[in-house]
Subunit: 492 residues, 2 copies
Amino acid sequence: MSKKLTKREDDYSRWYNELVVKADLAENSSVRGCMVIKPYGYAIWEKMQAQLDKMFKETGHQNAYFPLFVPKSLFEAEEKNAEGFAKECAVVTHYRLKNDENNPGKLVVDEKAKLEEELIVRPTSEAIIWNTYKNWIQSYRDLPILINQWANVVRWEMRTRLFLRTAEFLWQEGHTAHSTKDEAMKEAELMNNIYADFAQNFMGIPVIKGLKSESERFAGAEETFCIEALMQDGKALQAGTSHFLGQNFAKAFDVKFANKDGKLDYVWATSWGVSTRLMGALIMTHSDDNGLVLPPKLAPIQVVIIPIYKSEDQLNQISKKIDPIIDKLKSKNISVLYDKRDTHKPGFKFNEHEIKGVPIRIVIGPKDLENSTLEIFRRDNMKKEIIELENVFEKIDFLMEDIQSNIFNNAYKFTNKNIRIANTYEEFKSIIKNQGGFVSAHWDGSSETEEKIKKETKATIRCIPIDSKKEEGFCVVSNKPSPQRVLFAKAY
Amino acid sequence: MSKKLTKREDDYSRWYNELVVKADLAENSSVRGCMVIKPYGYAIWEKMQAQLDKMFKETGHQNAYFPLFVPKSLFEAEEKNAEGFAKECAVVTHYRLKNDENNPGKLVVDEKAKLEEELIVRPTSEAIIWNTYKNWIQSYRDLPILINQWANVVRWEMRTRLFLRTAEFLWQEGHTAHSTKDEAMKEAELMNNIYADFAQNFMGIPVIKGLKSESERFAGAEETFCIEALMQDGKALQAGTSHFLGQNFAKAFDVKFANKDGKLDYVWATSWGVSTRLMGALIMTHSDDNGLVLPPKLAPIQVVIIPIYKSEDQLNQISKKIDPIIDKLKSKNISVLYDKRDTHKPGFKFNEHEIKGVPIRIVIGPKDLENSTLEIFRRDNMKKEIIELENVFEKIDFLMEDIQSNIFNNAYKFTNKNIRIANTYEEFKSIIKNQGGFVSAHWDGSSETEEKIKKETKATIRCIPIDSKKEEGFCVVSNKPSPQRVLFAKAY
């Protein structure tokens, strides 16, 4: 494995693309825009899934599974949603192939097997799910419905990048149904808070919770909550969204319930999702010119142990010391790899585990055997030290927590340092052009101003922050009154 | 919830269809042949997934994810495989919809967005995966590759049934690459053994391990291992298959490796899978006229506790006794539901949990409070008894194991009773017609005989058993010599 990774300051985008491949996370497939998620990348995604799934279940949600395909007539029922996704839909039109009469061994689409109604490969599942909920809901007693689905979705993207923007991606999509507006709104905000909790406390990614402006909302939503994170290159990344859908889907699919007084009303809805895009956020928040940096809580291998030996006998002596350590680490649910491969030199192994972001590396050689010591290295700050063998568990426990909090703190400082206040449009443009990051500025609330700023600076409103103080002012563009600052940035 | 389920002896097929819906496992969707897996059904599937995933990982396999779509040119590369699936392929031909000019608010396929090459929605992933492995394999050092994927696949079926045969289904597909024929063959058999272990020890389903005859093999395989189970109506169900693919896919995709001597050879392959079809096997092995019967190891709710009370005060007294029991059961990882809903009467709850197959039901009322007793009911044999409150944990531990082994033993006896020996074709036909189940008969090994039997009796060769004794004889149809008996049955 060649360690030579493009440096971030030379070409951030290239660094990212190289790292995804060199760290064995994913690669492009022969299907345009679709990726192969390799075992090491998938193992990180599995850890993310397991934690999110736990958090969803703890808040009363259950998993279910709905069809991959959406008949066109259902897809188009909620007009805004349909319009929002129509241009990126993969469409199934036939259900059979046949032998190509002109090319033996080749197949062609059998024109006799044309579907009466085309099927859309789901870009999101509101339509198929609300068409199902219609049959599940009669009265308030059937509510709330709190369902999540882990699934693949397809959105035909013209320019794709591994994890960040792929034609097919993996995600979870929650779809809930409620008897009151208030309950649905609370659900949407709750799930956004869960996403924020997960991003910060497991992925180590500081996020800003906010609301989307109307033009940035999910197609079909009345309010979109989001978490926004700042990548090392100063561009923002939307890491999760949670939508209050009002009664739009209930109206489109005629889903009514009888309330306690027997009166019929449309059901209130939310939907919320995070995807394999989070892998991109994880990579671009923590990693460095040496490769991936992973938070211990999501690292598939938390500790790698590399023996330095010249003879089989030396290896055996080392293993005698190391085996009980491995057993104890495993009993503490710490995942450990004892990399005693004799096909690769220690230097190669160091590079490989560095580029793959293994949080803790232990090296033990003949001298350590004599002294009852070992070398311990932390990937986040690349520092190593010699410790007494007997202190190894204490040290690992400390590092597991310290690396987790250290990488969060570094990212937190970076994010905060890169939220800049602009009080004039000149300041705004200068920050976006020269410094990047978030610009906190007053905005008059109009789509026109938003559009003008986007056109002139490429920055969009990332969110209207929820937790920031509400300071009144005047729009940097129109000078009209503004109730609070909003965050702008160029974004992934 | 109406308990009235069609009786099995009246109409087995109808009983099955009703049970799947009434037990809240799944339902048909508005997409032809695709099902919605409801939360209760999905929770059982999740338990199956978790256990299988553990068993795969313990045997060195890792998960990954490959694209949903297969370009037609890759799909057709391995000819037998392509031919086997060509007639049931959903085909994506376009990547965009546009507004229908003649129907405001409606969408039509945008003919300008026609794909240059059609994409097949994967019916199985050998093609896309071997096209990927090609780039991963250069030398014997890159082998073996032991990868599994959890995914959805689509096979366009004309007649569909919930879980048993659906256009889209969920499954896992393992795809491994090896440097020797022997290693690949061992892998294929190992995975079949894991499936058998899982079916018997977790699902409580006795299975017969065997090999498929040539005509029943997976398209593209050189040998197919399988596990076959017998359903209550005397029809067999193929519960899992594991394929030795020889070098077929390596040759189709030109995947070669350098062995230790530097010589190039094609890579050896296996693939193996089980699907949501196992849900059908689970239902049809254990359930009865009262509803579902679940093995405790896969039951989403293992214990349900129903309080009998007339006043809030009585409920509080019961809860005071029950809450610590629930805490302790949870700490022992037993999933328990305390069903104290005041919207439903006890009788309704009894029916609901019976039809949903909850293994253990506890009922506690005012009289039990006085006597420090409770009523405990086991779903498998519908027996109830009064026990001392203090014995509840011991009793539950016993029942969890006893129900698990009891339902397996019942199914095992049923299966064995329904394997009948036929020494003449008359006997064979009579058994198939009048008794069903497996027929153990000599067969001359030819496809012609197999085809004749299928045409005349609808019975197919389910497998050539691996573990049965090898008794020589003469084919019941042709009277030609046969090295061992094989198992025939009508099958799902």
